[in-house]
Amino acid sequence: MPLNPKLKKVMVIGSGPIVIGQAAEFDYAGTQACRALKEEGLEVVLVNSNPATIMTDAAMADHVYVEPLTLDFLKKIIQKEKPDSILSTLGGQTGLTLSMQLAKEGFLEKEGVTLLGADPDTIAKAEDRQIFKDTMEHIGEPIIPSAVTGTLEGALSFARRAGYPVIVRPAYTLGGTGGGIAKDEEELREIASAGLRLSPITQILVEKCIAGWKEIEFEVMRDGGGNVITICSMENLDPVGIHTGDSIVIAPAVTLADKEYQMLRTAALHIIEAMGIEGGCNVQFALHPESYEYAVIEVNPRVSRSSALASKATGYPIARVAAKIAVGYRMDEIKNEITGMTKACFEPALDYVVVKFPKWPFDKFVYAARKLGTQMKATGEVMAIGRNFETALMKAVRGAEISHDCLADASMRKMDDDALTWKLMAEDDERIFAIYEALYRGFSVEKIHELTMVDEWFLYKLLHLCGLEKQLSSGELTDALLREAKRNGFPDKTIARISGRTDFPHLPFSYKMVDTCGAEFAAQTPYFYSTADEEDEAGPFLAERASGKPVVIVFGSGPIRIGQGIEFDYASVHCVWALKDAGYEVVIVNNNPETVSTDFNTADRLYFEPLTPEDVADIIRTEKPVGAVVAFGGQTAIRLTKWLSESGVPILGTPADSIDAAEDRGRFEALLKELHIRQPKGDTVRTVDEALEVANRLGYPVLLRPSYVLGGQNMIIAFSDADVQEYMQIILSHLENNLVLIDKYMMGTELEVDAICDGEDVLLPGIMEHIDRAGIHSGDSIAVYPPWNLSPAKTAKLVDYSTRLALSLHTKGLINIQYVISQDQVYVIEVNPRSSRTVPYLSKVTGIPMVDIATRIMLGEKLKDMPYGTGLYPASSYTAIKVPVFSFEKLSGLDTQLGPEMKSTGEVLGIGPTMTEALYKGLVGAGYSMKRKGGVFITVRDTDKEEIPEVARHFADLGFHLYATAGTARVLREHGMQATMVHKISESEHNTIALLESGKVNYIISTSAKGRTPARDSVKVRRKSVELGIPCLTSLDTAVALADILKSGFTAETATLVDICGLQK
């Protein structure tokens, strides 16, 4: 069947801000879907609150709403735009749940809107635990013994019957939020209560624990004609018990004989049929390692993280095909874009293996619990392709940017056997390295299998790598050994390090193509991966299809992590497009499967490789680019700069030396001095004594950080000598010989500028003012465009400073500058001559295609020849506010207090005619429930006590009841406010925790001088707030802003909808 003729206007719901469990993969899916729909001549309406996405670009849809993803706002948009249908399956769990709720309420029927992809019955079959169970039983597919319950008693009685351990899975939550394994009744009480609370329908599934079974996934596709195919099988190295998002995954499945494989494949097809899904679906199975016994764990009736991985692993564009199916096509009518000659109705054949390796945030969140379980904790992932598992795993590990170039881990090598055995059983993010180390020192495969249940197949492959490492370390580097090492993924640098030899030749990589069909057909879309010692396909492909255009390589931003998110993929993709428009042939190198940049048709050629010098060197040799772009790939790409320029590869845009000038403290200070621009006073120290001396000289508070940082890693604000001592001890124990920077901490207003410079002129698309004062990481601050209380004189000063800084750094492209205004003085805090986190947001609200312009400037164009002018661009009539979003509920043990270390995983945008309205939308979009009455619990550190009365007054005036800890309560009373005193946790049963659990409190304002340590009272209060879903404000500025919004009385009813497409015209 071709396109359904009834469809004219389709609404696509995105997945909202990036949180753990729902990341960039949905931008990739949504972007593919929007394109597929527009190709059909359909009018597309897009809704997504996340501005850092490609899908919210004006070019992606006919109407783009960056509005909160709530039922109220969606209804309003539907009534305004009157789409005839909604595509529910491409916006992750968020999009699916919202679509279902709209349907359930009868709203869609009333408005005459059809649900495409999955109807409410289908969604319920997968999402509602009881209906799921019934459906599986009906078609004879085994599931794990379990009980669906809405009460704690129900959970307990099931566990008594089935026996412990049991797993708790709340219904309708993301990435298993609130789930966990309970080993006894006490644990079950805790986990089940939390799960019930987190489930929007107060329902949990309690199931028998089958930890240790093999975890196998299938990506399945079905069309309206009933045709069904499987796209990819995947096997988790980590058996059942660790969330698939936190597992190391190999595709295709490798330890299943055809009998087992076909058994599960057939089951997956039966399931998608029984569910009635029209589009993509993901089925997870647990398979007993010693028998044919299996159980269906979960079905996602939508495009998912796994389907993004499966798309990139096979080359099959799942989201695109799913979108075509949703509007009526059958798979045999959809072209396979990779081969150009076959149809979408086939199953990809791989002639390589793919390894996915998660990227966890524990390097940033040192106090968060590292143990993995049913709750996903990874923020992102890398994928690697190799002709064998060893190569793919080695590539994945070095591409994950975790300071590993192989599986050997220095700190584990120092552990004694007992400690290592414990580490093996710890089930944390470092288990793979512990396994490797255990194998290296001779633990038997059987013993490790017994302790970890990791299949022997993987263990033997790791043992093979151990053997190679040992042979290399013997120092005798024969040609055969060198070849063997290279064919198993050891880079030259690692071989040199282990063997102590440098006198060996570089065996160049050759490149093979990902073509969906195991070379059965000639592929049209060049998507390459490296392999050692085999025929090169890239060279001949290039020679055959030489277009004569000059080639430019764009380096991507690697895995998504705190501090380097989807924004950098947005910029990379726009850079690719601008380069293509300018007549270049563009090559992208990246290793993140969740992204638009690694889509097969974004660049002219894609190399799916780690972003290390050695991995990109042969790409450069093959492609012979006229230049390389590093400015858009975040720190990942920037780190290649020095090596690239030393290797003689021209860097397009800002020269490497300028990047160094901005990063090197000495050079940067000299530059500011020359320009007569102030910066907070500071110094560099190495020891505790030096630190104390400098801190006292500058005067407290001071900001301390290691000289090399990303995302505010390991930064603190110290208020006293004790703070400095504690911090220095921690930092010096982690990072020996690290320089520590100490700066005077300036209290004041923080401002941020993204500017574009061509070496002669500078354009400032806009200035953003932070609501949160300096000291809270800019990525975690609420940022307002245009600034709301910046005087014309100060504005002029910022423009002047930015212009001079950009010019003197010889910027050719984007530059991001952060300022603080303290006691009426403007100070520069930081300068980054590259693309920043705020570029997509600012591009969208100003209508200035910033990356596009920056790219053209890199290629030699001048601002004066473009229609945007120079200096500060006139401010928009709309206010746009970026509000950070956190994933605290996913990371137990992590203190939620904001500070100089970045903690947010994503952001939303609120856009409106006034600041209040924009902020209202931003906060609603970020998940604040906007309760207008009830209680506020306040507990602040001494340094905040001076300010707290004014903040509290805002809430008191609104009629909120105030609760406070002793010290805070006293201050409030002194200022004439009523406040109920609450005891500390240790003091009484009627303590802060009991108060929070009572449900009387709707907001918490909590700050403490020193957080982080999970044992502290204040940290416990904040963790409790996360569990209970009570908004906890750790910034007084945000608290005031929230009170203002509550006072304003805005609702979705009264808010104005803004079509972004209109802004950019």
């Binding site: 490798v254 055809d258 494989y261 076909q262 076959t342 002639d351 195991g518 070379a519 000639a522 396909e537």
Partner: protein
């Protein structure tokens, strides 16, 4: 240190690799074909249709789950040699009995690994199927003319059963004669599971001998080689088509049935071998993913009016199935019995059963 061995192709290409499996005492010459199936190498190795061929596995890691004799599709390996990128020394699966190397040794079949199988596959894709020679000595160009001229001889004769035999069923509903041209075991297993009693007969069996068994239906099996090398069988088959006994043909059986009804077959450039081949049912419009292993195909434009094209390959449009109107019979080019590969089209066995049931009903 493993022995270095060479694979020489008739176009002069020569690849060096490492030896595994049975000792390479003398050169092995065979047609080189590739399969893209990612699982099911045991089934592939033991599929009699690969007689006279050496098989390249495009998936690089072979032998991961070891070898188990219950997965055999015949009594042993019929292919001449095996070509992989890597073979797994420590297989992992609860059913594994031995590793790939030991299996090849036990079956006296040599293998070559550590070759660039993707390069080889691309070569075959561009140049078409070629003869190849696996040799321990560095090959010389002088051997090429002989290599080019080499042909598979009497393929079916080598793999068919020598004597007829029966596979009884507990409560048989139908009696099926399985005409064995090199049948995969799962054809018999599928029919047996549907309560059919089977008499398996050798390829050279005459029409009269088959009729003497008074079968309810005749199953034409898969098998190796060029269908046109089996003209005596085609002649017997054309007689059977006139009896009104339901006939179901798979793969070579499908080609022979077409030849018996006056259609023609031709050799495909590099065949269809894999577990991911889409075929479209022209009656219902449904597409199925199928397991395939064939180098020849029925030419759709030579089908007589009473032979209706029922399935086509979605990739290249070639004939994948025929339904006959002159007698109760149909045939498919793909493998509904799977093993290895998807079971999506196993309903065809039930269709065959329905034909037999309808006929039994009419006869009563």
């Amino acid at each position: 240190m493993e022995q270095t061995v060479f694979l020489q192709l008739e176009d002069g290409t020569c690849l060096a690799g490492k030896h595994f499996g049975a000792p390479l005492r003398e050169d092995v010459t065979a047609e080189v074909v590739f399969t893209t199936a990612m699982t099911g190498y045991v089934e592939t190795l033991t599929d009699p249709s690969y007689y006279g061929q050496m098989v390249v596995q495009t998936f690089p890691l072979i032998g991961n789950y070891g070898v188990n004799s219950t997965d055999f599709e015949s009594e042993g390996i019929h292919m001449s040699a095996y070509i992989t990128r890597e073979w797994c020394r420590q297989p992992s699966n609860f059913r594994s009995q031995l590793d790939l190397d030991a299996f090849l040794k036990s079956q006296n079949v040599p293998g070559i690994y550590d070759v660039d199988t993707r390069f080889l596959t691309r070569k075959i894709r561009e140049r078409g199927v070629m003869n190849g020679r696996l040799t321990a000595a560095k090959p010389s160009e002088d051997a090429l003319p002989a290599l080019k001229d080499w042909r598979i001889q009497d393929a079916v004769g080598h793999v068919t059963c020598k004597m007829p035999f029966e596979i009884p069923a507990g409560l048989p509903r139908h009696h099926v004669v399985l005409w064995d041209f090199g049948a995969k075991r799962n054809i018999a297993r599928k029919l047996h599971a549907l309560n059919c009693r089977l008499t398996v007969v050798p390829a050279h069996t005459a029409c009269e001998e088959i009729l003497a068994l008074s079968p309810d239906g005749i199953m034409l099996s898969n098998g190796p080689g060029n269908p046109k090398d089996n003209l005596p069988i085609v002649k017997e088959l054309s007689k059977l088509c006139k009896t009104g006994i339901p006939i179901f043909g798979i793969c070579l059986g499908h080609q022979l049935l077409a030849l018996a009804n006056g259609a023609d077959t031709h050799k495909l450039k590099y065949g269809h071998r894999g577990a991911n081949q889409p075929v479209k049912d022209l009656t219902t419009g449904r597409t199925y993913i199928t397991s395939q292993n064939h180098g020849y195909a029925v030419k759709s434009d030579t089908l007589p009016p009473e032979a209706v094209l029922s399935f086509i390959n979605l990739n290249d449009g070639t004939c994948e199935g025929v339904r006959y109107t002159s007698f109760p019979g149909f045939s498919v080019q793909f493998h509904p019995e799977a093993c290895g590969g998807p079971h999506d089209s196993e309903f065809l066995f039930r269709d065959f059963l329905n034909l037999m049931e309808r006929r039994t009903g009419e006869c009563r």
